[in-house]
C-alpha cells in the first residue's frame, strides 16, 4: 500500500526521529511511504486555544498537501483525533463547506499509527526488538476520542525482549493539554507529578505513548528530576530491530538508518 506520512508539526520540527521511525517501520512491513512536502500542521493547537478562524487556512493547507492520498498515517493520536473531530467542523463554521467536505473525506482515509497497523494492515507482531522494561501511557485523545483501546498494548506485547509493565492509574491525564501546559502551568505540573510518580513506581526504564507531545511533557519532567527513566515514542520501539543494535545501545531505540 502507498502510505502518505503526516509527520505532524511538532514531530517534524522537534523530534524528527519519531517520523523517521514511522517511515522505516511501514517500509519494513512492505509499504511504500511518501512524505507530501506541503504538509505542516492539522490546526489543532489553533482550534484548542480559541483561534478557530485562524485554523481554517491551516486545515486548507493540510487538505491540499494530502489531496489524492490513498491512506494517511500519523504518529499521533491527538492530531488524528483533531483531523477526525475538528477540521471539518471549523471549516463548516467559517462557511467553507467545500473544504469541510474535503476535510471529512480525508479524515476517513487518515489513521493513527496503532490503528493503521492493527485494523488496516492486520498486524500485531511487526518484528520489533527492544529489550527493555517499558510502561505504556494511553494518551487522552487516543484513548477517549479515537478509542484505540488496547491496540498499542497488542503491538508492544509482540515486541521481542520487551518487558511490559502496567502503569497504575494509566487513564489519568498527564497534564499536557497543549497550551494548558503553559496557561495553567502549576496545575499541569501537579498532574505531571502524579503521572511521574506512577511511571517511576513501575521501575520501567522507558515510558512510551502514541503522542510525542505528551511524551515531551512527561519526558521533560522525568529529565528535570534526573530520574533516568526516559520517554520513547511507540513508533520508535516498533521500528527498533535486533540487527540495528549497536554496542552502546542503552534505551535509545535501534532504528535502522
Amino acid at each position: 500500500m502507498k502510505v502518505a506520512l503526516f509527520a505532524t508539526c511538532l514531530v517534524d520540527t522537534m523530534v524528527p526521529q519519531v517520523a523517521m521511525a514511522t517511515a522505516r517501520l511501514l517500509e519494513r512491513l512492505g509499504h511504500e511511504v511518501v512524505v507530501p512536502p506541503g504538509q505542516s500542521c492539522c490546526g489543532q493547537m489553533h482550534v484548542n486555544t480559541g483561534y478557530r478562524r485562524e485554523a481554517v487556512p491551516i486545515v486548507a493547507n493540510h487538505v491540499r498537501a494530502f489531496a489524492g492520498a490513498e491512506a494517511v498515517v500519523a504518529p499521533s493520536g491527538s492530531c488524528v483525533a483533531s483531523i477526525h473531530h475538528q477540521q471539518a467542523a471549523v471549516a463548516r463554521r467559517a462557511g467553507e463547506h467545500a473544504l469541510a467536505e474535503e476535510a471529512a473525506a480525508l479524515a476517513d482515509r487518515t489513521w493513527e499509527l496503532s490503528q493503521f497497523l492493527v485494523d488496516v494492515l492486520g498486524v500485531t507482531d511487526v518484528g520489533a526488538y527492544y529489550p527493555h522494561r517499558v510502561t505504556y501511557h494511553p494518551t487522552c485523545h487516543s484513548l477517549r476520542m479515537l478509542k484505540v483501546a488496547d491496540r498499542p498494548l497488542q503491538l508492544l506485547r509482540a515486541v521481542r525482549g520487551l518487558d511490559l509493565v502496567e502503569l497504575p492509574a494509566a487513564d489519568q491525564c498527564c497534564g499536557f493539554g497543549g497550551t494548558f501546559a503553559v496557561k495553567n502551568a502549576e496545575t499541569s505540573t501537579a498532574m505531571l507529578t502524579d503521572k511521574m510518580a506512577n511511571v517511576l513506581s513501575t521501575h520501567a526504564e522507558v515510558c512510551t505513548a502514541g503522542d510525542a507531545s505528551c511524551l515531551m511533557h512527561i519526558g521533560g519532567g522525568l529529565s528535570r528530576l534526573r530520574s533516568g527513566t526516559r520517554t520513547v515514542h511507540l513508533a520508535e520501539i516498533l521500528a527498533s530491530t535486533e540487527e540495528a543494535v549497536t554496542p552502546h545501545q542503552s534505551t535509545t531505540p535501534a532504528v535502522p538508518a
Partner: protein, 486 residues
Amino acid sequence: MTAVFLGIPTAPRGVGHLRGDLSFPDAARDSLRDGQLRANLGHATATIRGKRAAVVGEVPDWAELREAGRAIKAATMARLDEHLIALEEQVTARGGTVHWASDATEANEIVTRLVQATGTDEVVKVKSMATQEIGLNEALEAAGIAAHETDLAELIVQLGEDTPSHILVPAIHKNRAEIREIFLRTMPGVDPGLTDDPRKLAMAARAHLRERFLRARVAISGANFAVAETGTLAVVESEGNGRMCLTLPQTLITVMGIEKVVPTWRDLEVFLQLLPRSSTGERMNPYTSLWAGVTPGDGPQEFHLVLVDNGRTAVLADEVGREALHCIRCSACLNVCPVYERAGGHAYGSVYPGPIGAVLSPQLTGIEDNASLPYASSLCGACYDVCPVAIDIPSILVHLRAEHVEAQQHAGPEALAFRALSKAMSNPRLWRLAQKAAGLGRFLAWGRPTLPAALPPPASRWTRTRDLPTPPKETFTQAWAREHGG
C-alpha cells in the same frame, strides 16, 4: 453569534456566586500548595469514581439510557417556553403560586418578600444549587432572616464560614478531623468530648438540626426536576433532612432554574436511573421526594415556585453552549476531572466548579467575566465519557475559548503570535522558514540534549518544571527530502 450580540441579559454582577476574585491559575496556585486539600480530594474523588464505575458497569443498557437522557433534555430545551407555561398552569391548578425571576436580584427579592409575609425570621433550607448561585442566604441575612442549611455537608460549610467546593459533597475538601473541630467550635451545646467518629459527628449534627426542623415555619428548597404535565416537583437527596424541610413547615418556597423542567412524568424514569448511579454511586436514590401544589391537611399549606433565569436564556441562545443546560448536577464530571482533583472546587470561583462549572459559569455571566475558566482544562475528555446526559464538555470549552478570543477588540501578543503562525502553517514555504528559525534555538543548548531551564517567558512557564529538548539540526521533512532527492 454570541449571547452578548443578541442582547439577552446574563447574570448580573454584585449578587450571587458565579464569579471569583481571582483568575483560575491564580486561585489554583494557592490550593495546589495545600497538601491536606490535595489528600482529601484525591481520596474522596477516587472513592466516588470507583463506586460510580462499578454501578454504571452493571447496567447493560447504560449507553441507551444515556442517549435517552440526552435526547429528552435536547427536546425539552427546544420548546422550553411551552413546557414552563404548562408547568405554571399545573402548579397553579394544584394550589401553588408560580413566580418568574429574570435574575438573581429579582429572585432574592421575591423569596425575601414571601418569607417576610409569613412573619418569621428564620428558614430551614434543603441543599440547593440555585439558591447558592443567586446568593439567597446573604440576601435573607440582609433582611434579618436567618437561613439554616440542613444538608450535613452544607451545614459543615455554613458553620465553618466556608464556601462549598463540590456540587454534591460541598465539604469534600474537609476531612473528619477538620469537621470535628468546626462542630466543637461552632455548635451551641455540643458534647465537648466529641470524637471524629463519623457516627458521632452525624449524631451531633442530627441533634443540632432536629431542633430547627421542629421550629421552622418556612422551608426553602431547590428542585432536581419539575414535571410540566403534572406540576410535580422532585428533590433527590440522601439524608432525609430534605424531606423534613419539605414536609414539616407551613410554607415551602422552591427556587428552581428554568432548565430543570421535564415534559412528562415518564421522563423521570430515565433520570432517576441515571442520577444516583452517576452521583453517589448508588443503584437507587435513598430519599426521593415528589409533590404537586398543596394537599389540605398534609404537608406545607402554602407552596411557591420561583423560576429563575439568571443568564439561562442567554445560554440557550448559543447553539454549541446550550448543551450545558442539560446538566442534572450529578457531579460525575467533577469526580473524574484531573484538574478539579488537584486545584479543588474553590479555584473555579463559582458555585459550579469542575468541568461543568468551567462551561456553565462563563456562559451565565458572559464569557469576559469568567474568561479564565474555559482554559482550566487539559481537554482530556474524562468528563464527557462519564456524563450521564452526554454533554460534550470539551467541545464547549473549546467553543468558549474561541468566543473569548473573538470578543477581544485588540489583538494581544498571543493573538498576534497565533495569527503569524497560522500564516506560516498555511504556506509551506513560510513554514519551512519558521521551522528553520525554531531550529536555531538549538544554539541556546550549547550542545546539550536539553535547553537551559532559565528561558524568558512564555517559554519559562514550560521550562520552570520541565526540560525542553534541544531542537534538531534537521527537520524530518528536510531529512526525508535529502534522502529521497526532493
